[in-house]
């Protein structure tokens, strides 16, 4: 990797060093574009290959064979000649392709001729009663601790929810010596009917074999409670246990840790703040950017690749990254030779095989997306409950942006990451409208918190920006 610097201008700036960003930056740099990859994490890999080069786990194999694939992407990137800045938070992007970025306590504004956003996915909010209690966290956060620090949760631990990550983490946890009191599977039984027609495609995908093997490994010796239709975490000041309903029966578990997960959704904050048009995707029940085949968004010069473009998984992310990079190279340096876009598109189609089945099967039940009980907290930062939101609708709030004004919902440090989809769907339900009509929070930079010190120290002169060199 070259010595990184915030030069004031670049051919291409890629945001995010997961599989999409790594593949895009590698291809663009190989074609001769001046390419800068900015990554919030301390080392490349993104969420899926987090800490692939640095994990303290003595046996990386326990994270599964796919984890090692991340190593190959990182090696190719390292040889590509692209510049790389770790620990770099991109907090602003606009239609003039100016990016605001902070690293090591300093901020700079840089210009790009093209930008590829590869900001990946976030876990979908899982607003059940008690989800804000200490002792309750997401499976994604728990997996980050496992990958980056080798940490496993202690005491009586349960996983609740649905989706591939739940089963993957359960298997990884077991391999790392962790124990589970129970897995509560919230996959709605009726989802099988919707998923069934996608079964042939799924069976031809790599997910089928891997998924089956993983699920079998996770289930072995673990109590699995299926068809869970209601969850309530309880405790005074911290988690004491979980009440649930499953298959018409009620039950209760005493717990020290409850890990929740119901799938991932695109991390849209930076793209939305840049003005990229998004649409509601009913199959994945989330907002996705409107893109052409090469990943170009509604904002000229801004492309989106990876799970931020719609959930497709790691292999699809890398192929989308390559497709976006090919389009950028063709636009900026038509004489450069690039891999055949059609071949990449074919590889993408292959990687997407089975996705429709997973989307249909793991689409979370409406009851877990929109809390029925008014006391459930929706916006954790400002402690706005489902009842507060319904009351705001009753006095005339028509969408999430009025809710910000009425209740400060979405105004806290997370900028709606933990409540945005819940708010949209809850308001849609309360108003009898479609999520598309309700829309999402209007997002603004900084999309990640940045200090007054950093903003005050932005160098106003482009020459000075070039001099802001990271050690």
């Amino acid at each position: 990797m070259t010595a990184p610097a915030f030069a004031s201008s670049h051919d291409l700036v890629v945001v995010g060093a997961g599989p999409a960003g790594l593949a895009a930056a590698t291809l663009a740099a190989q074609a001769g574009l001046g390419t800068l990859l900015l990554d919030e994490n301390a080392s490349p890999g993104g969420q899926i290959y987090r800490a692939v080069t640095t994990t303290p786990l003595p046996d990386r194999a326990l994270l599964g064979p796919e984890f090692a694939q991340g190593g190959a992407l990182v090696e190719a990137f390292a040889r590509s000649g692209a510049a790389y800045v770790a620990g770099a938070t991109v907090w602003h992007l606009d239609r003039d392709l100016t990016l605001g970025v902070s690293a090591a306590g300093r901020a700079a504004l840089i210009k790009a001729r093209r930008v590829i956003l590869a900001t990946g996915a976030l876990e979908r909010p899982f607003p059940i009663p008690g989800w804000t209690l200490p002792g309750v966290m997401t499976i994604g956060a728990a997996q980050t601790l496992l990958k980056a620090s080798g940490m496993i949760p202690q005491g009586r631990v349960a996983l609740a929810g649905s989706g591939p990550l739940l089963w993957l983490y359960a298997a990884q946890l077991k391999r790392a010596g962790g124990r589970l009191a129970a897995i509560l599977d919230t996959t709605p039984r009726e989802n099988w009917r919707a998923a069934w027609r996608h079964m042939p495609d799924f069976l031809r995908s790599p997910y089928a074999f891997k998924g089956l093997k993983l699920t079998r490994e996770a289930r072995a010796g673990t109590r699995v409670i299926a068809n869970v239709t209601a969850l309530e975490a309880f405790g005074e000041g911290r988690l004491a246990g979980l009440r649930y309903a499953a298959g018409g029966k009620r039950g209760e578990l005493s717990l020290d840790a409850l890990l929740l997960h119901q799938g991932v959704v695109p991390n849209v904050n930076l793209a939305m703040a840049a003005g990229v048009a998004h649409r509601w995707d009913e199959a994945q029940a989330c907002f996705v950017p409107t893109l052409d085949a090469g990943g170009q968004s509604s904002v000229q010069g801004v492309s989106i690749a990876g799970d931020g473009a719609g959930i497709g998984g790691a292999e699809a992310a890398a192929e989308r990254g390559r497709l976006a990079a090919v389009a950028v190279v063709k636009a900026l340096k038509p004489e450069a030779s690039t891999p055949d876009a059609a071949a990449i598109a074919a590889a993408l189609a292959k990687a997407m095989r089975g996705r429709a089945f997973l989307d249909a099967l793991f689409r979370p039940a409406p009851a877990f997306r929109v809390p029925a009980r008014d006391e459930v907290i929706v916006c954790r930062c400002e402690e706005v409950s489902a009842g507060d939101i319904r009351a705001s609708v009753a006095i005339g709030a028509t969408g999430p942006n009025q809710l910000k004004a009425y209740r400060r919902a979405g105004m806290g440090p997370c900028q709606g990451r933990m409540c945005g989809l819940t708010v949209t769907e809850l308001m849609a339900q309360a108003r009898g409208k479609m999520a598309q009509e309700i829309g999402y929070y209007r997002l603004r930079s900084p999309v990640k918190p940045v200090t007054l010190d950093e903003i005050a120290s932005i160098q106003p002169d482009p020459a000075a920006i070039a001099a802001v060199v990271r050690e």
Binding site: G100, L109, G396, A405, R444, P449, T451, L452, D453
Partner: protein
């Protein structure tokens, strides 16, 4: 078939909503049309300053009238609008800045206005303990303060509707024309008629006026604001500067709003703005110097509201010079929030009686003799 009202109002900001409220209160049947929702732009996302301080003399009578309504705002709209009266302080950063402040306050006294008062360094430190040691004093307006802009605009909209005003949100006025005595609006497949039209369309007011043959020189602008995460309480009044652009307000929840009028890019046709972080850097630098306590604060968000600005930074309030029945209430140039409740009352009086007790000298369209293409 067309629908009728007594008065048509274009624009659902604080001004349009306040005029609708006062008209309905007086027994008229106004119909208001807002292309987005009430308070979507400048009225709902401004800094919330209820400011009498440092206003142009022409605006002071209207500002005083408005302040009387603000002080009893709950009686008017059934909501306290988050209004506080912790005062506003104009901070002098140097001795050199104090001299014109003294002259200004003396001039106001001579005119009979007492709402601005000189303060020395000790009083400044009492009002704003965290301000930099080097500031030698300033001017205070003790009855002024701040309110929640979105809540306020919404409260006016709600109360106006409760009193019988017909409020239409998501209703973009496509065309405005005059047929005989009546103004005719085409809005979302409906046609509306009335003998009186109020142009309260903010940044979009120029388009309304131009269709009626009286173009007004109002330009869309996008003043930017930033807000921080919560910090321990350290200042109650709103602080503003004279030499540099800054307004500064800490809310009850601890978050601090930083504004002052630096402009972003504006795209009024798209309802869009683009933040200019080079200018926000200047705001941050000014706060960094003036309030050292803020240096480690986290900026959570920045935004810009779309507002209409006049060449002389003064609004247009009052009847058209060319088109009978047309009234302008626009061009508030980023300081119309405090005036809103008063301007609505004045407009209702003008429409009902043709006169108002509040002097509007210097605020009328007639100060732009070329505006309508006259002479």
């Amino acid at each position: 078939m067309s629908r009728t009202a007594d008065v048509l109002i274009v624009g659902g900001g604080i001004h349009g909503c306040a005029t609708a409220l006062h008209l309905a209160k007086a027994g008229a049947r106004p119909a208001l049309f807002e292309k987005d929702y009430a308070g979507r732009h400048a009225s709902g996302v401004n800094a919330g300053g209820v400011r009498q301080l440092a206003r142009d003399v022409a605006e002071i009578p209207l500002s005083i009238r408005a302040m009387g309504l603000w002080e009893n705002i709950a009686d008017l709209v059934d909501d306290d609008c988050g209004f506080d009266q912790h005062g506003q302080v104009l901070v002098a950063e140097s001795e050199a800045e104090l001299a014109p402040m003294r002259a200004r306050v003396a001039d106001l006294r001579a005119r009979g206005f007492t709402h601005e008062e000189m303060i020395d360094a000790a009083e400044l430190r009492r009002l704003a303990p965290a301000v930099a040691e080097t500031c030698p004093g300033g001017v205070v307006s003790r009855r002024a303060g701040a309110a929640d802009p979105a809540r306020t605009t919404t409260a006016f909209r709600r109360k106006a509707a409760a009193l019988g005003a017909m409020i239409h949100e998501g209703a973009r006025v496509e065309t405005v024309r005059k047929e005989g005595r009546d103004f005719v609006l085409d809005v979302g497949g409906q046609t509306w008629r009335a003998p009186v039209l109020v142009n309260a369309a903010g940044a979009w007011a120029g388009g309304v006026a131009a269709q009626l043959g009286e173009p007004i020189p109002v330009q869309p602008i996008a003043p930017m604001l930033m807000i921080t995460a919560r910090v321990p309480a350290f200042i109650k009044p709103v602080a503003i500067l004279r030499g540099r652009k800054l307004s500064f307000k800490q809310f009850a929840n601890g978050s601090v709003m930083i504004g002052g009028g630096h402009l972003g890019q504006v795209f009024p046709d798209e309802n869009a703005t683009v933040l200019d972080w080079r200018k926000l850097q200047e705001s941050a630098r000014t706060v960094w110097e003036l309030f050292p306590i803020m240096r480690g604060a986290t900026i959570l968000r920045a935004w810009a509201g779309i507002e209409g600005r006049m060449p002389d930074d003064l609004p247009i309030i009052g009847p058209s010079a060319r088109c009978e029945g047309l009234f302008h209430q626009c061009g508030f140039s980023a300081h119309g929030f405090q005036l809103g409740p008063g301007a609505g009352a004045v407009m209702a009086e003008l429409i009902a009686t043709g006169a108002t007790a509040t002097p509007l000298d210097g605020l009328q369209i007639t100060r732009f003799p070329h505006a309508g293409g006259l002479s």
